[in-house]
């Protein structure tokens, strides 16, 4: 699905990603954990194609294509989806109009015809149910005035609508109450198949109780310093990052 090799990225003079290696196969769920500021969101932004970051070294292959050569929109059209840690409010652009445009541009990219209004609305209805998104939210401006939890739910709603191959969920659990967490996680699980993959970025075991990862990686100071199975997350939950920090401080 995606293969990341020795990825280095900086902003200005500051190197934030310092050699990331990660291999995700179809059907897998990977969790990335790590202390604040370690570079998790940077990694997702770089993968999604945010231009503020400069990739200085390394390569990323996504379904056989050189991901780093593609503009952000083409990465999405190829099936990469990023659920933003901080979803952006876009006053004046309705959620529905936004999603219809996105969906149709993705379809056009694959040489498919535009979706009819009827099919589109049926899809909206179906997918908003999946994350129990209030139908009123769908017709409002993108994220405008949404509560923190509603914004996160809206991200997963968009994911459901666009049906990506690889979804990167950047702290989608933060800001969700217990019920919403369960609903969102259940939604993500329902969207899971043997043909797609998920990368979950989180600070909490709580989410991983629902979305059970096949692999857990610890990102620290721009590198994956440790990988393991789902028990690694439990271990972190119990011990915190102190040991990791001590162990890798010198390598700074």
């Amino acid at each position: 699905m995606i293969s990341i090799k020795n990825l280095h990225a900086s902003i200005g003079d500051k190197e934030i990603l310092r050699g990331i290696n990660l291999e995700v196969k179809a059907g897998e769920v990977h969790a990335i954990m790590g202390p604040n500021g370690s570079g998790k969101s940077t990694l997702s932004s770089v993968l999604a194609g945010r231009e503020d970051y400069e990739v200085t070294e390394g390569e990323v292959t996504f379904n056989g294509k050189n991901l780093l050569e593609l503009p952000a929109e083409d990465r999405a059209r190829e099936g990469l989806f990023l659920a933003f840690q901080y979803p952006v409010e876009i006053p004046g652009v309705s959620n529905i109009n936004f999603l219809r445009t996105a969906l149709n541009e993705i379809r056009a990219y694959h040489g498919q015809e535009e979706m009819t209004a009827k099919d589109f609305l049926a899809l909206v209805k179906d997918k908003s149910k999946l994350v129990e998104l209030d139908s009123k939210l769908a017709s409002r401006s993108v994220n405008e005035g949404f509560s923190g939890g509603e914004k996160k739910r809206n991200e997963i709603f968009q994911m459901a609508m666009l049906n990506p191959k690889l979804a990167i969920l950047d702290e989608t659990d933060s800001g969700l109450d217990i019920d919403a967490l369960r609903i969102v996680a259940t939604g993500v699980n329902k969207l899971k198949s043997k043909d797609n993959a998920t990368i979950v970025i989180t600070h909490y075991q709580r989410l991983l109780d629902y979305i059970v990862p096949d692999f857990v990686h610890i990102l620290y100071k721009g590198r994956i310093v440790k990988s393991g199975g789902k028990e690694l997350a439990l271990e972190l939950e119990a011990k915190g990052y102190d040991e990791i920090k001590k162990e890798f401080e010198i390598a700074d």
């Binding site: 999604a48 194609g49 945010r50 231009e51 503009p71 952000a72 929109e73 990465r75 999405a76 059209r77 990023l82 933003f84 979803p87 952006v88 409010e89 876009i90 006053p91 004046g92 652009v93 109009n97 936004f98 999603l99 445009t101 996105a102 969906l103 541009e105 993705i106 990219y109 401006s141 993108v142 968009q158 666009l162």
Partner: protein
């Protein structure tokens, strides 16, 4: 009258000479007024960028550069020329090169509505001409007064509500450089209501300097909703002066949409002359190339309990320039005034310029006034969010700019006008 050639206003002198040679005598403006208008103009000169109010909009330079020779070689127009400019829902009235053209206008008898040319005014009616636009206050009003063509007079008699919009198509057309001094008077009497669309076009291949002056009176408890639709194209340079006076309990609402024109200067001056009235001025422009759009508004609160509201938005692309200059006066008797003003702009290129200048002069103590301006680039976070969902750069930009403008486009309550604006707006994006 004698013309003294004065170096400091050689451009003005040249213009005056050419216009005097080539324009016919105007029947409806009293000679004395014409003479004093010319004197004023000779004295003050056509404004250039040394003039505080024309700092970003050098009219003199335009005349020097583009209108050294003025041919006044006007074109006649036919129904076929006008047909595509009409608006179906409205009564379409046509003014060609400043002259009201009855032949091209739709004839409809509507109770309480008077439409005629300025020289058909009776001598008592003539008294109100120039009551709002005084030649000794502004050089371009003076120029218009001196050379005004036989424009349009439109009146809604008291207690009448005109059921359909009135659409005045001001169209200029020349074979070679023309200067059109178009003038109109709109009088909405007490308890009357009307919706007016004023559209501005230039047909043909000649450059036009259009100096438009419209006086508008809104009587007691009357309502006038106005749409100004400006689409004069790249050969046109225009100054559009609206001198508006509104009465007690009245409501005046204007939305100005500027979609093309190499230079468009709008002077929109509204006097809230009596208590409990309201004025709403809205504007939207999108400029590209080397276009220049300059919206100057003046809201003059003279009496208590009135409200004014201004919302102007602009998008400047390429090397274009947009200006918003909004003056609000609150006179000492205008207690309990509410006056709001907002100007928001987006710069689409590093070479585009936006100038904004709010000016509040408040002489009453119990008032609520607020103003805000913002000018920025397109929101890159929002742009990335859209792209990250598979929306291409172009459509993402368009979505965001449309969203920015939507608030103003929504103010147009005439569907086919709204469609026309939206179509041109999208094309200009």
């Amino acid at each position: 009258m004698s013309l003294v050639v004065d170096n400091k206003s050689a451009v003005t002198q040249n213009l005056l000479e050419q216009l005097q040679k080539k324009s016919g005598k105007i029947a409806f403006m009293p000679d004395a007024e014409i003479i004093s208008a010319i004197r004023y103009l000779e004295d003050k000169g056509i404004p250039n960028n040394k003039h505080e109010d024309y700092k970003y909009c050098n009219i003199e330079a335009v005349l020097r550069k583009e209108f050294k020779s003025v041919e006044q070689s006007f074109n006649e127009l036919t129904n076929a020329d006008i047909a595509p400019l009409k608006i179906d829902e409205a009564i379409n009235l046509v003014v060609v090169n400043g002259v009201y053209n009855e032949g091209l206008s739709e004839k409809m008898i509507v109770k309480g509505l008077t439409v005629k040319s300025l020289n058909e005014l009776s001598s008592s009616e003539k008294n109100i001409l120039s009551s709002q636009a005084k030649a000794d206050t502004d050089a371009l009003i003076a120029l218009n007064t001196a050379f005004s063509a036989n424009g349009l007079f439109l009146q809604v008699d008291k207690n009448n509500v005109i059921p359909m919009p009135l659409h005045v198509i001001y169209v200029n057309s020349g074979n070679a450089n023309i200067v059109a001094n178009t003038r109109s008077f709109i009088n909405v009497q007490a308890n009357a209501q009307a919706t007016l669309i004023e559209s501005f076009y230039n047909i043909g291949s000649a450059k036009v300097f259009s100096n438009f002056v419209s006086e508008k009176c809104v009587g007691e408890n009357a309502k006038l909703i106005c749409y100004t639709f400006q689409n004069e194209g790249p050969l046109s340079y225009s100054v559009n002066t609206n001198q508006v006076k509104i009465g007690k309990y009245s409501n005046y609402n204007n939305t100005t949409m500027t979609l093309s024109g190499e230079l468009v200067r709008n002077n929109h001056n509204v006097v809230l002359a009596d208590s409990n009235c309201e004025a709403h001025l809205n504007g939207l422009f999108i400029t590209n190339g080397t276009q220049q759009v300059d919206n100057h508004t003046l809201i003059d609160h003279q009496m208590p309990n009135c409200e004014s509201n201004e919302l102007y938005k602009g998008i400047a692309k390429d090397r274009s320039t947009g200006t918003f200059n909004g003056k609000i006066f609150v006179r000492k008797d205008a207690q309990k005034t509410n006056a709001y003003q907002s100007s928001k702009n987006i710069l689409m290129s590093d070479d585009a310029t936006i100038n904004t200048k709010p000016q509040l002069e408040i002489y009453a103590d119990d008032v609520k006034c607020s103003h805000g301006t913002s000018t920025g680039k397109i929101d890159t976070e929002a742009l990335f969010y859209l792209k990250a969902r598979g929306i291409g750069e172009e459509s993402a930009r368009k979505l965001l700019l449309q969203a920015f403008a939507q608030e103003l486009i929504d103010k147009i309550e005439i569907p086919s006008l709204q469609e026309r604006v939206l179509h041109l707006f999208e094309k200009a994006l």
